[in-house]
């Protein structure tokens, strides 16, 4: 345990004592106590900056399950530090914001902050763990805590629906990822990411490489709300707004991005990785931005915009992974730089926007853009912050979104020049889709700002009189918005300290060549990117202004084609299918279950007999057959056949008795006097009991009819009989070793002082069995006594 471990686990420890604060200090908002922790953690993590920017990494190991090779190794490099700073930094701001957002009297704050701290600790664990299994543990903890946070207002049906949906999808992905992790562990014989990286060349040629790749990507895509797993994110907007700002814009959804970035050095050798990450990212970008435009709920717009921006980052990571094939030329690494830069930018402006939406919701009582409008004069500060956020999201100068969008275009244009993996032909799609998606991004950003803050103020549609939010609530968005502006004007603030080490972590090979120079400028001449941006602004403005002309196309797309319908119907039909399947085979009739049991018995045994070629006949050891045996066997068979075809129960019982007595005679014939004696008495007793049952059978069901004949039953019983006969013939013919009975013959008098060998075996050599057999008898007697005497149902009726 080092200080670093303590830092990772401190939110979890803090979560333990939060309810205490809530109970003891009732007058102070619990958030104030919580706030201390992320601020401390942020300042703790920021001191690593000086070391990681020099290319150093920090490792600390604490033993967890050393015998399984699972240790909690904390590993800090540029990439994980960037995420740790995002988590703690934005975490502090979100906690600060939530103090003003959540009412300390009306809300159960202890729950909220416990979940939030759990989440924060889990996220820190995900990004700082070197061991994949430890990372997976934290990964699932993020799913669980996010589930709890989404359903924070658990009395609302939509909240529970959203929570369940996100849980199902992210846990599905998480489990797939676990599969991928296990495959990686099998391939590399280690779960440490760094050790896996070292044997990257072995992994690539391994047969399990592609399955591991697909499974890990499935985990990353579900977590990061990539197409088509994006559907949980819009429904997760039922969570309190601070949660949406924190989880669903800045941190949790970026866990998938982190995973992809972390795994890029291992998997980027494969064309599948580049195509999947780049392609799905681009598809998500397009789909998210296209759908964001039609939303009428502010948080809905932001949810789809988050989806689309995450797709953007993902596609950049995919394209950036191709740099490996160009000797890590800086020219091609640019996409990875853009991904990291946009990751930071997105966290800032999306956090801002969520908080702004929360303020609007809090102060007006609605998030519906059809009801909102003209809030600019009433909420000037909020409006300013929203302007900064949404213009940055749209990619307008002078905000940081502009810079990362330019870099994004640069990265996508590079794809055209790539001549690997069919990119030379299909690559042209990358910049085109990127450009179209950017136009939609521009449109929804404009909708977000102008529909809310400009136009006509409609007080009659609002629940509350709109007014400016308290300063405390504005503080966090102001800080984030100023970061948007600062990163916009001074992008190189970050480039050396944060972006460069993070890129070096994603593309480790570039570290050795030391060619990477991260320089971000506003102006790089009249490049194609600049004209693309002009086009985006021009077309975007036109489309926004004439939006009423073309938005009806959204209603043309039938509702049934959405993935939500697929998900909902999928769930329902799965439940129905499982239900009807169970209904079909669990009939409630014992005879059906017996049919199953015997069918499996026949199937498995005959398969084994045939596949092993086990059937043999060996007649050499057979004894001669005497006349008595033949006569007795005939009686036995006759008795059995009589039972089968008996028309009355009485006949069947008596025939059964005759079978039992002839068995006793067989015992006599085969020289087993003890067995014969016992068999005679027991047969008498059991026939008497049968007669008793027969006598007591209720009048109604006393149908004296023959056993209903069913072809299936005949088939199954015949098969069982034939099979068992064949098996006993075969096993008799294949005696592997002599019987151990010689020992008893020799020793029953010598060792046990008895001459009746059967009895000596029963009470002496194997007395243990006898002891439990009499226990069985005693239990049976007590059971009968209890069943007859304790007729509780009859007593309650009477």
């Amino acid at each position: 345990m080092t200080l670093l471990h303590l830092a990772i686990l401190s939110p979890l420890l803090m979560a333990l004592i939060v309810p205490l604060f809530y109970k003891v200090a009732k007058n102070v908002h619990t958030g104030w106590f919580v706030l201390i922790l992320p601020v401390l953690l942020f300042s703790y993590f920021i001191q690593f900056l000086s070391r990681t920017s020099k290319g150093e990494t920090i490792t600390a190991t604490a033993e967890w399950m050393p015998s399984f090779g699972i240790n909690f190794t904390a590993y800090v490099d540029g990439l994980s530090l960037l995420f740790a700073l995002l988590i703690t930094g934005i975490g502090s701001l979100v906690v600060l914001y939530s103090i003003y957002y959540l009412d300390k009297h009306k809300e159960s704050l202890h729950n909220f902050y416990v979940y939030l701290l759990l989440f924060m600790g889990a996220m820190l664990g995900v990004v700082l763990s070197d061991n994949l299994l430890v990372m997976y543990t934290f990964w699932e903890l993020t799913s669980i805590s996010s589930f709890l946070l989404i359903a924070y207002w658990y009395h609302r049906e939509r909240s529970r629906y959203g929570a369940q949906k996100s849980m199902l999808i992210t846990v599905f992905g998480g489990l797939s990822m676990l599969g991928g992790i296990v495959l990686l562990g099998i391939m590399g014989d280690t779960f440490s990411i760094r050790e896996l990286l070292a044997q990257q060349d072995i992994l690539v040629s391994h047969a399990l490489f592609i399955p591991a790749l697909l499974l890990i990507l499935l985990g990353a895509f579900t977590k990061s709300a990539q197409f088509p797993f994006h559907i949980w994110l819009p429904d997760a907007m039922e969570a309190p707004t601070p949660v949406s700002a924190y989880l669903h814009s800045a941190t949790m959804v970026k866990a998938g991005i982190y995973l992809v970035a972390r795994m890029t050095p291992i998997f980027s050798e494969s064309s599948l990785w580049i195509w999947l990450v780049g392609g799905i990212g681009l598809l998500t970008l397009m789909w998210g931005s296209f759908n964001a435009v039609k939303q009428t709920d502010l948080k809905g717009i932001l949810a789809f915009s988050t989806i689309s921006q995450l797709g953007l980052i993902m596609s950049l990571l995919g394209v950036g992974a191709a740099a490996r094939f160009y000797d890590y030329n800086q020219y091609y690494v640019a996409a990875t730089v853009a991904a990291i830069f946009h990751l930071v930018n997105h966290a800032t402006f999306k956090g801002t926007l969520f908080m702004v939406v929360g303020i609007v919701d809090h102060e007006t009582g609605t998030r519906d853009i059809r009801k909102l409008g003209g809030l600019m004069s009433m909420m000037p500060i909020t409006a300013t912050i929203a302007l900064i956020g949404s213009f940055s999201m749209a990619g307008l100068p002078p905000f940081n979104g502009f810079l990362s969008k330019e870099m994004f275009f640069t990265g996508m244009i590079r794809v055209i020049e790539m001549d690997i993996f069919n990119l030379s032909t299909w690559g042209i799609l990358f910049p085109i889709i990127a450009w179209v998606a950017s136009i939609f991004t521009f449109i929804y950003s404009m909708i977000l700002f102008f529909k809310t803050f400009t136009g006509k103020y409609q007080p009659e549609k609002l629940d509350k009189e709109a007014h400016e939010a308290p300063f405390g609530m504005l503080l966090s968005p102001i800080i984030l918005a100023s970061l948007v502006v600062i990163f916009g004007f001074f992008p190189n603030l970050l480039s050396q300290s944060i972006i460069k080490p993070a890129v070096e972590a994603i593309v480790p090979a570039i570290k050795e060549s030391s060619t990477l120079k991260v320089n971000i400028y506003f102006w790089h001449g009249f490049t194609p990117e600049l004209f693309m941006t002009f086009g985006v602004i021009l077309l975007g403005t036109l489309l926004y202004v004439y939006s009423s002309k073309w938005t009806p196309i959204y209603s043309k797309i039938p509702e049934k084609l959405s993935f939500n319908t697929v998900y909902d119907h999928g769930l329902i039909s799965m439940e129905r299918g499982a239900f009807s399947l169970t209904r079909r085979y669990m009939t409630g009739f014992i005879r059906t279950y017996l049919v199953y049991i015997f069918t499996f018995f026949i199937g498995i045994l005959s398969f084994t007999m045939i596949s092993q070629g086990a059937f043999t006949i060996d007649t050499s050891e057979l004894a001669p057959i005497s006349v008595y045996e033949v006569v007795l066997a005939v009686i036995l068979v006759l008795g059995t056949v009589t039972i089968l075809f008996a028309k009355s129960r009485l006949t069947a019982i008596i025939a059964l008795g005759s079978v039992g007595y002839s068995v006793a005679l067989f015992f006599v014939l085969f020289k087993a006097p003890d067995l014969a004696l016992t068999q005679l008495v027991i047969e008498t007793v059991s026939v008497a009991l049968f007669l008793l049952c027969f006598y007591h059978l209720p009048r109604l069901s006393r149908h004296e009819e023959r056993t209903s004949f069913k072809f299936g039953n005949l088939l199954i019983s015949a098969a069982v009989g034939v099979l068992v006969t064949l098996i006993s013939i075969a096993s008799h013919s294949q005696k592997m070793f002599p019987s151990i009975s010689e020992y008893y013959v020799e020793n029953s008098y010598k060792l046990a002082g008895g001459k009746n060998m059967v009895n000596v075996i029963l009470v002496d050599f194997r007395g243990f069995d006898t002891m439990f057999e009499i226990c069985v008898l005693a239990i049976a007697a007590l059971g009968i006594f209890a069943m007859i005497r304790l007729r509780l149902t009859r007593r309650s009726e009477g």
């Binding site: 006097p673 003890d674 004696l677 016992t678 008495v681 027991i682 007793v685 009991l689 008793l692 046990a752 002082g753 008895g754 001459k755 009746n756 059967v758 009895n759 000596v760 029963l762 009470v763 002496d764 007395g767 243990f768 006898t770 002891m771 009499i774 226990c775 008898l777 005693a778 049976a780 007697a781 007590l782 009968i784 006594f785 007859i788 005497r789």
Partner: protein
């Protein structure tokens, strides 16, 4: 008219005695000849059943005033106790011992701890058979 069971009852008193004797013979002979606790117990309870048939449950329960469930328990205790007793002599569970003794009336005889175990079996078998038959017989 109440049926006259004199013949049955008279024969039963004699026969039951003989059956019990036979069952005890079977029980004690078990270690050397066919027989043992199980069949001995069954025959003894057969004698009691005969008495049940000839007389009625009340009469029989005055002759044998046992609670057969307790008899079962005692039988189990004897069997397990024989096994557990072996542990006191530092040998594995259910190790039997036998020795030849000169007894006052019977002369040279071997005494075997397996007999105690078998007595347990004997008692359990009587106990359970009688419990079952009595329970069913007394139920309506």
């Amino acid at each position: 008219m109440k049926p006259n069971d004199v013949v049955l009852q008279t024969i039963t008193t004699v026969a039951a005695f003989i059956i019990v004797l036979f069952s005890i013979q079977l029980f004690f002979a078990g270690h050397y000849n066919p027989g043992g606790g199980f069949i001995g117990g069954l025959l003894t309870s057969g004698a009691i059943v005969l008495l049940l048939l000839a007389f009625d449950i009340k009469t029989v329960s005055t002759i044998f005033p046992f609670d057969y469930k307790i008899m079962t328990a005692i039988g189990l205790l004897l069997s397990v106790g024989t096994g557990a007793g072996a542990l006191l002599f530092d040998v594995p569970f259910l190790t039997h011992a036998y020795e030849y003794f000169h007894l006052p009336l019977l002369g040279e005889q071997s005494l075997h701890t397996a007999v105690i175990f078998d007595t347990g079996v004997y008692l359990v078998v009587i106990g359970i058979t009688m419990t079952i038959i009595q329970t069913i017989g007394e139920s309506e």
